[in-house]
Symmetry: D3
Subunit: 293 residues, 6 copies
């Protein structure tokens, strides 16, 4: 169950309206790596988790915080739009480049659809969607997904920080940046702990027996491009990170197989078939079938 | 530039047709973490990269390999569909549960749209889409995204391994599992190397100055749920992973702010406003404006 | 069957080109609550309806009108784009803010994709999609959806009215506003008539026996937030609108249940499982199974 | 801010596994009218609302409850999948129609992607998306959208009730049905109260001056189909619901305008133009321009 | 304007219910090449066309017919679903493979969402979307798109013909097949006529001056694969179809350019940059900037 | 298998940055008819093809080239963005209309998400998706789809040519235009050759026996609009293009059927049913059933 308190976790008040910036801020609200994504991702991981205790408490504890961040951003966006000239003709002084930029740069659905309100979309107006989230039930994989989400998120907020001068907006972003710092650290620590607790090892999933994979290619770097430095990295020599093998470098594939012959499905799929006489025979077959039908 | 060779990296031939399994295999061809995703992700990371040398050579070298994996899966799927009873009435012997399962479980678009061929969709028929890929230009974040993609991918292939008995299919999956093992190791090694090379540090992005974030909350675990074990993990005490702080545990938020008052955008947004007399006044204003227009 | 007549229901000719406004007008053509939505929604409701007579005649009669509104908007948009500087370099006088606004604010696909023509998309370029429509076969629910669609539509057109000075555009919008007024009234009247005719009652669906629901919570307002005025409304006291109960107010839930323990699906799902020794046992089981395979 | 409590609002435990039903239940979790939709819709309406007090408290109070319903359904789905034969070959006894139905009827991503867990998608696997929600800032329109959402939702749950025999599932559905009853009543009451409070009237938006619409067609039922009973309803005669007019019935349109002539945008749009000599002239113009370029 | 007549263009009544087939039929109703696509495509081409007369009359004349085909299919689907066991538990006799196939193979949203009605989706439940249509304003290109749409459509209907035994369904499909035959012929004839009328020539768009393209590669077949028969076709030798050149065959590219060096955008994009000392300098610059801010 | 070479097929270097143009160029990279579409379309056609030899070699040979064009465009876009003022506040000189246009006209995700890099999206930021491609296995239909794709593509590139003055960009576009010319010619030639080789004839699919369609309407032009020139074209008189019939012209339909009566699905679908007493009886039935349950 969720309980809502009519307070924000941090002050979210801009100093002045800015409809173009409101649009940009939508990215970290409703984009691929926005707050809706992390809130939903952590909660679904919790609901589907197969372990009670600290790991499930962790995802629940932070998932609920992230819903509060969705709220902070929505409230901020509504205020950025509050006094902005969001599409009203008479306010669009035609020889003012600033207004021209607003006319061009704002999300027009902010005005037409939401009446100067926030929406669950990204900075290009693409609606948030369920495929943004990741939850496989394998915690090593999922916590890596979470670490990535917090990194991408902090990169985006850092960029947004420089796209505004508004001290109120920057203040809120400074808070979100700090929380992203925490959350990156936290997921990376949880990954270490999964290993220490003996729950997961590399490669994920570790309980699939490696002897069932073609281990001869499990640690080969195969260079399918012609970059001459691809073999210079630690991924092309030395011990593998999972401790189970030794990296080696190869120019291109070390295995190959002939391409199988083209398929010939049922003639009633009406695909183009091989040579005329085959077609005739197939047609004969169809003819026969159709007469029977 | 890309050059195509009419050979496969590994044998991709099933022993017998299986339309239901063909559908399942679509997940690792055209799903969120399928081969199209990693092929496109690595290539776009290369095209947008800001460093020449080993890291760009790395993404190019593996990206091209992944396009070959797309091909292996597409070829395999076409063969699984080749002799399957893909929707032809007269073949659907009605008292055979196996056929009933095929009728129910196959991807009907395999027959109707592709004429017994593979498609760039996932196992539920959702089309592959560009938002599946990640590429921020920040390599620490992006390589973490790559590691996650290879982990999720290997988890899915491992599951698919147990959903078939076909030795031909399992043989190909064993190869893909091995390559996923390599690629997990490779990205994790590349992440270490970025740090060793002095290019990136935690938290990402490391060149955003941390003093600009609200550092008082940068290492606090805030528990917004009531799980009593959330504080038991290494994320709630001890040094942080980035080495810049000390984790601490807190029940709920350590900061708060009152929710800002509701916004009052231009009356011509036709939102419902506060109290009747305000409405009247606003209406008056509109009336005035409209008379002027 | 549909028959097309090469006339419009109302004049749809702008006085001057305006590519930015053409983009905005796309919202009511191809947006969530645009004319394509209502046209398709009413027609599908008709095709799926389980009653002959006045209600089916009603949805058919208005659905066909709405396709004509799609046409009016498409024709209008093509004309707004006709002489507009839709992306041609040499016309983009660089020191003219008006042109700058056009460059920034127009839908670039209007030029690149449609060659100065309308498209079935919303004002942010998101394609119209089938999930915008509603049709359950329950007319009380569906006519409420229709009333909502006409309300949202009229709100959007009212906003668009103030975003242009063009008398030709405003003239057409005045017509659409009037039709939206009619259609709001019409659906609300049809809802009343469904009840008068004894076909439907509240709550929808009325023929599901209410005794099968947990009636003890059927009229409780449960406040999951801390707003102190939530209990002031008529939804928290007095008789319910459906006449079957009495509203009451409660701070938070009146029921609760412990969260069920985490699930433990088949080990070959490769989820992270509970405690090490369980893992070992599960691994043993897998080992056994795999040996048998 | 949101706070999570590790309890459910109501018991959500099935008696036995049922992977096919788990898929169906996804509709009311992540479908167009599922619990994610109403949770997000009410919260966004609150964040964008322009009035403090009872109406905002109302949407916050119920929005948070709906997030708890998302949780109940996710937990239920995970349990329905827990012991189900979710795609593991050896369990698929080929001569058992029940298993055949599971193989065909389950959501294969439940197994391959989520490892026997719930996902934010509908019963066909389409991801939840931001366009499912409605929030215009006009409360009369938005509360009508809310009433519709609760009606559609209750219709769907009522259908799902009959698609299972499981007493545990039915018990939870009985609870959700009761809450949908409450929420339908609540939004319809709130609509009445908006009018009583003098905040909104019909047609929405009521503060757009009706004299600016073409009132001559504001109350005409125009029959664009040939159904002979379309004029029998109360929408074709008698006073209008908003009290501002009198309905009338008309066969087809009462207005018309000639279709404007085709547009002739810039020749560099490369559209096909009217007659050859025009083309030549246009080509001449292009030629000239191109020589100048 | 569109006028609806409550008659169908052809009989659309199945002999018996078939929920699985109803799902398949959705492909040609709401799929990529279904009837909604062609109806919308032709109408938008008409609304955006730059020529009056026979070509615009043509697209209007057929577009309206296609909306009638949408109706025929929707009506047919509703009837196929009418008496089908669409998800009701007690009807699902568990030891009957036919019912098992229905349980697995039907579109569950047909029951849960539409109450046994048609929906604007394809056979996998993906909603119809605006990007399915094509309309560039260049009639040579667009009529080729139309010819393709009618070919893909007829291929799909031909496949569907063999997936049912129902004489009523087959009768309707026979009608649709005949109309697709007409429409293929019609668009191919219209393409010829565009050339005869001197309106368009190959390559499209013909009024872009070919001398502005790099004509040295305008007729070269460049083989980027290693298939040895690629040069055997008429596309690798002899006169080109447009009459403006001579085909030639080449193994791989005839041109090449070095890959440009990596980009170095503003340091505040936080991308990973080249070498440590550059990073330091960039960091210095940021430092400077930030101090100034 | 694919092999990558770190060279471009043609020079792709702009003379100066232009973020607005970078956005426009996304259309031919990641749009409906962009290079990702043709690359994927040709490859999937190859993987699913039922004929070895020249046709499969053809699609493989050109498909790989198109992946190289994706690369050229991505590299070009990254460079156009390199020095552009992509959203950094202090660079946005507020009284410069050029900057205002950039602020308004660029794709903000280029900066926020990709850090000044290309993305797999169109010019409005819609992600590329799998439904853009066509591959039915019927080569006559598919090569027509390919011809269309190359025509739409060349029309778009021609438009983009005039939207920039940059000689570097225009140089690359001149190359792409030439290749589109080749590819249009090539597919049209391949279509001729399919017929000459006796593999396919009109109408597609030619091996479906035409006697099974309702041939009486196979060559009728039915005018469902009131355009008086629809009968003037060659599609309304004279021999049909496939040589199998004679075109004829008709005002409206030549066939019709009464609309079937409304359906009455199971009462537990909770649709609104016909007349009260029927409802009662149905309710009775439900009542009975429910009592039994």
């Amino acid at each position: 169950m969720f309980f809502h308190r009519q307070e924000l976790q941090f002050k979210a008040t801009p100093e002045k309206p800015d409809a173009v910036y409101a649009r940009k801020l939508q990215e970290v609200l409703g984009g691929q790596y926005g707050e809706i994504t992390v809130a939903m991702q952590y909660m679904f991981q919790g609901w589907n988790m197969h372990i009670p205790g600290k790991y499930r408490d962790l995802v629940y504890g932070i998932g609920a915080e992230e819903f509060g961040h969705v709220e902070m951003l929505a409230i901020m966006i509504a205020q950025l739009l509050e006094k902005a000239p969001v599409g009203i003709t008479e306010d669009a002084v035609q020889d003012d480049p600033t207004v021209a930029a607003v006319v061009g740069g704002m999300d027009v659905q902010h005005a037409i659809v939401a009446g100067a309100g926030a929406r669950p979309v990204d900075s290009n107006g693409n609606p948030w969607q369920g495929t943004y989230i990741t939850g496989s039930g394998n915690l090593l994989a999922d916590f890596t997904a979470n670490a990535n989400a917090e990194m991408q998120g902090r990169v985006q907020v850092a960029r947004l920080y420089h796209m505004t001068d508004d001290p109120g907006v920057r203040d809120m972003l400074s808070f979100l940046l700090a929380r992203d710092t925490m959350h990156q650290n936290q997921w990376l620590r949880a990954i270490e702990e999964l290993k220490e607790d003996g729950l997961e090892q590399l490669p994920a999933p570790s309980n699939f027996p490696q002897r069932k994979e073609h281990t001869e290619v499990s640690y080969q770097y195969l260079n399918f491009s012609d970059g001459e430095h691809a073999g210079d990295g630690g991924w092309a020599k030395g011990p593998s990170v999972d401790g189970n093998g030794e990296f080696s470098y190869h120019d291109g594939p070390t295995t190959s197989a002939p391409m199988p012959p083209p398929t010939h499905p049922d003639a009633r799929m009406y695909g183009t078939t091989e040579v005329p006489n085959v077609v005739e025979k197939a047609a004969g077959t169809i003819q026969d079938r159709l007469h029977r039908e």
